[in-house]
Amino acid sequence: MKDDGARLSGDDLTLAYDKRVIAQGLDVAVPDRSFTVIVGPNACGKSTTLRALARVLKPAAGTVLLDGERIGSWPAKKLARTLGLLPQSSIAPEGITVADLVARGRYPHQGLLRQWSREDERVVGEAMAATGVAELADWFVDELSGGQRQRVWIAMALAQQTPILLLDEPTTYLDIAHQIEILDLCADLHEAGRTVVAVLHDLNHAARYATHLIAMRDGRIVAEGPPGDVVTAALVEEVFGLPCQVIECPETGTPLVIPAARHRAPVG
């Protein structure tokens, strides 16, 4: 995918929770219309970076720019119509139905005088269709499986109708089939023209789906670019401290990380 500039970028960011500094002097740019995936070991600052890009976390120093303007100066609802975030820790209110939860994504499009409209109705229907949860519309979210629930949350973010969508570990706690299902959905959303940014744990998934990969460690970006260039044995060793081989994935041709084995043969 060609890089046609970055609508969303962070410049010389210092990110901290209270006094605990997570990242310093961080420059990050999300190529427009890319499927950018941020990877790195636990506590490397990848989710923190995503939260800063979404203005959920205010940087202690530095600026996040969206369309050339400081993200802090964007009106909240206008920002929420441009940039969507699926946080890691969303709570489904008890007893809420799928359709009602997805409908809450319309918040930034509504106001005191502009309550529920036909347009909202249509967009919510489309979001549920695109994520394959339309037939679950009247179900209670509590009753769904983990994979279904995650699709419902993504549907809610879609109902926000934002050209940029940030997802914080959307595949965590899902089994492998549901992980692939969610990532395929993200790839569909990307192909439909959105800029998608996701934080992922699984390096092989990242290499398979990303058009732009950002590898972080200790609050720094160690490498970034197309996964084919970024994912090398040396880099994996540097970022994760894991000796490995990198081979070509027989299915997609993308890099596939094979961790080095301490036990050559099956034990026992």
Binding site: R51, L86, I91, G95, Y107
Partner: protein, 344 residues
């Protein structure tokens, strides 16, 4: 997974449910009207519903004096205090994401009571106009304390519930202690404390009305941002809501509603806990429906409790606050036991 189809099928159920919810609200208003008429009709001198109605609207009717002097003030008070407590409970449960949150249980009403008792006993304040401000101060102080304990990043529903319960117990002891030490005002306060509507006077009720009206209006305006906040702070911010401002406004709402209601009729517990729970089984968690339903159905509970209180111990009366708990407790337990089935 099949390629997503961006077709736009109608959202099944949504329009139908909105219609159902509207119809339910209309039905609720009818039930409320009936409860109001009952409250005007029942008492030491029972009237037929028709006589009660004529007594309300026709100055020449024989029942005019009874209705307007005796029954109307307490009926209005039950309406206002009931709506205030029910909506305040729903707001608290939503803001704290804690189903146990209730202005009675978490000490907000007791905080208002403690301030009023202090004002009566130590400062000699004796008029409603005087102690309504103390009630606001007490309710506000406790609400803010709870917010400080329960609003921080590390706060959990458990911490909030424990802090609230501890605060409630401490304030309750204080109120009791002041009453015991000051027997002169004990009698006057006793009825006020357990939540009686009997001493209602029209001027007091009218003075109370603007506070509660303002609180209710603000609560309804907060419904959508609080809906967003119910999904977590990050999600709310991602949707363009402002969690800090929403919480602060919510505290103002709770303070206004609980302070005014407590100042007028003492700390009535349980309405704020029970009604939102029961209503949620009808409306789901959407506050745009939950709050109006609570505003309509909480007064029904208060009115029915008050009417029953007038009937069961004739010629004496049992306070509405007592009946609410006696009446509501078993119903509530039944619903709590049944809730899983309702949700499924």
């Amino acid at each position: 997974m099949p390629a997503p189809t961006p077709a736009a099928p109608p959202v099944p159920g949504v329009p139908g449910r909105r219609l159902g919810r509207s119809a339910g609200l209309v039905a609720g208003v009818l039930v409320l009207s009936l409860a109001v008429l009952l409250s005007l009709a029942v008492g030491a001198r029972p009237l037929s519903l028709g006589d009660a109605w004529r007594g309300l609207v026709d100055p020449a009717a024989p029942a005019y004096t009874v209705v307007h002097q005796m029954r109307l003030p307490r009926t209005l008070l039950a309406l206002l205090a009931g709506a205030a407590l029910g909506v305040a409970g729903a707001v608290m449960q939503s803001l704290t994401r804690n189903p146990l949150a209730d202005p009675g249980i978490l000490g907000i009403n007791t905080g208002a009571a403690a301030a009023v008792v202090s004002a009566i006993s130590f400062l000699g304040v004796s008029s409603f106009a005087g102690f309504v401000w103390f009630a606001f101060a007490g309710a506000g102080a406790v609400a803010f304390l709870l917010y400080a304990v329960g609003g921080g990043r590390s706060a959990t529903p458990t911490r909030l519930a424990l802090a609230g319960a501890a605060l409630n117990a401490a304030l309750y002891s204080y109120v009791t202690a002041v009453q015991l030490l000051d027997t002169a005002t004990l009698d006057r306060m006793r009825f006020w404390i357990v939540g009686s509507l009997a001493s209602a006077q029209t001027p007091i009720v009218l003075r109370l009305a603007p506070f509660i009206a303002l609180g209710l209006l603000l609560a309804f305006l907060l419904a959508r941002p609080m809906n967003a906040l119910a999904m977590g702070d990050d999600a709310a911010q991602a949707l363009g809501a402002n969690p800090a401002r929403t919480r602060a406004a919510g505290i103002v709402v709770i303070t206004l509603l609980c302070g005014a209601a407590t100042a007028a009729c003492g700390p009535i517990a349980f309405v704020g806990l029970m009604v939102p729970h029961l209503v949620r089984t009808l409306t789901g968690p959407d506050l745009r429906w939950l709050l109006p339903y609570c505003a309509v159905l909480s007064p029904v509970l208060m009115l029915v409790a008050d009417v029953l209180g007038r009937v069961v111990a004739r010629p004496s009366e049992v306070q509405a606050g007592v009946v609410t708990v006696l009446l509501g407790g078993p119903v509530f337990l039944y619903f709590v036991r049944k809730r899983r089935v309702v949700a499924a």
